[in-house]
Symmetry: C2
Subunit: 339 residues, 2 copies
DNA sequence: TTGAAAGCGCTAACAT
DNA sequence: ATGTTAGCGCTTTCAA
């Protein structure tokens, strides 16, 4: 059996195709009994609406595109889930792509989304994509930056104050008496990374006698964090930092392992550790991890709602939502933490 | 500027729309100079093909659907990545949905994919979906089961022998002298879980003096594994198992933590631990984890290639590919492991 | 090698 | 309240 179309349904229900379309899209304007009849015809023919045709007619699809920086990072998984839920409420679906921090991948997905005529795109960009986004806007595709502000103010954004987050982490470490800090993270081209470092630096500068060094990693992964930890353990204890701020929780978890396995470094006694993102794994790790929490859920949700409004009305003023991060203290930085 | 269409391109290049379509789809049959002219017109108008129209005309889209059981499980992330790559090579994109082990979610995605007229679907099913898949086949949508065999042989499948995997884990534990085994996993309705247990049981039965108990968990997550570990630690040491087989690596990592934190249980000395999936995190965890490796990459790749062949020719005999799992020994079960 | 034209399934404007 | 119809952008015969 080939797919039944509105025409077939109309024939069986003895109405016109227009009426069938109406029961699909505005059932309230058609007589109840007619609705009934059409519905049962659909049932009988197991009719399934053809999205392609609908989309062709409408001029755009009922889908939103989302490009995240990293598929493996639970922060983005959470964000994506929230976006999917919010979009579903509005009758949209979400197509997700991961750029893995690669420019060409990002460009590839943007191209795909353009062919698909998505209604809008939610983007956590690798580099500043203002030029490309302006092209998309010209074809009627709205976009909102997530977890990142554009240098160009003309695109809406939903992000978290990474500089404040970095400051939060550093000041917590300093308040608990640490004076030789280290920031473990990289590459610095990732804006989130450099902002967090920047925030930490500012805090350090306010406190004479406190220093901070940068321990670079190639990627924000568990393996890289572990490598950095093992490296730290090689140093004579006096030259090790006593407070470490990791650029994200994956790196922090890796550090936890590198420091433990090779060096039996006591955490938090010898080194206090603070991560970033507060992923589900943070509270579940060997030493529960102090972390800077970002409202991943809220970011996804807000991103979608702004995107949908702008898709509706392209002349809306761009908005910039900036959430504040929050410090969650656990044992990795405090012996008295309850968790 | 609204989107340019083939018509606009044709006008500018002074050719017919048919020719434009040809340079898009079979450039070899059109004169080189014409190709040139059309291409430059496309460039000038920044033409982007409208997938919806193409799809409407073709009768199906250039996309494949993939439904996984769990978005948080790296095994499925890997599988999905492999599927995307394989699909991309054939000019298809992949739309991914996570059922999270929920029947209604699975049904929802199947419905969405049907509306989208995807070319085929790759499915790691919650329950046996033969009925529904037959409907899809009737509308020309092929399907292949991944990581699971249907009771109904009429659908192709690509899976890994979970019974063999369970046997592998148990026999390794028994060979290293463990006699009181425990299987930590659940819910047993998940076929992968019950098969792994079944395999372990068979192995235990071959060895008099060896026993196995089941410690159930509600979900295959780190948190649940940790809870099970803490529970195990409550018991007097003599009543604890000396060899534990976890239904997957997330659970195993949780166990690692539960056993460590509360009980300072030595791993592998007091309890040897084996996980399943060999996710990236297994080798990077505090005590590197022995695990049963599944060729996630291969599964995704093979799944896509079978799916595409069946989409091409619906009358093909269903095929059933069964890969064998492989044991990767690390410290969590062996003091002499190099890793 | 290229052009002309039909038609995929749908929605919305207009007519009844 | 319902019917009729044009047309979205594309691919693909068929004809020239």
């Amino acid at each position: 059996m080939a797919s039944a179309s509105v025409k077939d349904v109309a024939a069986l229900a003895q109405v016109s195709v227009g009426t069938v379309s109406n029961v699909l899209n505005r059932p309230e304007i058609v007589a109840p009994e007619t609705v009934e009849r059409v519905m049962s015809a659909m049932q009988k023919l197991s009719y399934v609406r053809n999205e392609a045709a609908r989309q062709l007619r409408l001029g755009h699809s009922q889908a939103l595109g989302l490009i995240t920086l990293s598929g493996g990072n639970p922060f983005f998984t959470d964000l994506a889930t929230a976006a999917e839920d919010a979009a579903a409420d509005a009758g949209y679906s979400v197509i997700v792509g991961n750029s893995n921090n690669l420019r060409e991948r990002e460009a590839g997905y943007l191209g795909l989304f353009e062919e698909l005529r998505v209604r809008g795109v939610l983007l956590s960009p690798v580099a500043d994509p203002a030029r490309r986004l302006r092209q998309l806007r010209d074809r009627g595709i709205a976009s909102v930056l997530v977890d990142r502000v554009s240098t160009d103010e003309s695109f809406s954004s939903v992000s978290v104050d990474d500089v404040a987050g970095g400051a939060l982490a550093a000041s917590h470490l300093i308040d608990s008496g640490r004076t030789r800090l280290a920031f473990v993270g990289g590459p610095l081209e990732i804006r989130q990374v450099s902002d967090r470092l920047e925030g930490a630096r500012r805090e350090v500068e306010k406190h004479p006698g406190v220093s901070i060094e940068v321990v670079p990693v190639a990627e924000l992964t568990v393996m890289e964090g572990r490598r950095a930890g093992e490296q730290l353990v090689q140093r004579p204890p006096a030259q090790r930092p006593d407070g470490v701020f990791a650029a994200n929780d994956l790196v922090a978890v890796g550090l936890l392992q590198g420091l433990f396995i090779n060096g039996r470094v006591a955490i938090p006694e010898d080194i206090a550790l603070v991560g970033y993102d507060d992923i589900m794994f943070a509270s579940a790790s060997v030493v529960p991890l102090t972390s800077v929490r970002q409202p991943s859920h809220l970011i996804g949700q807000t991103g979608v709602s702004i995107l949908l409004e702008e898709a509706e009305d392209p002349d809306l003023e761009p908005r910039h939502v900036l959430y504040q991060p929050e410090l969650v203290v656990r044992r990795s930085s405090s012996l008295t933490a309850t968790d």
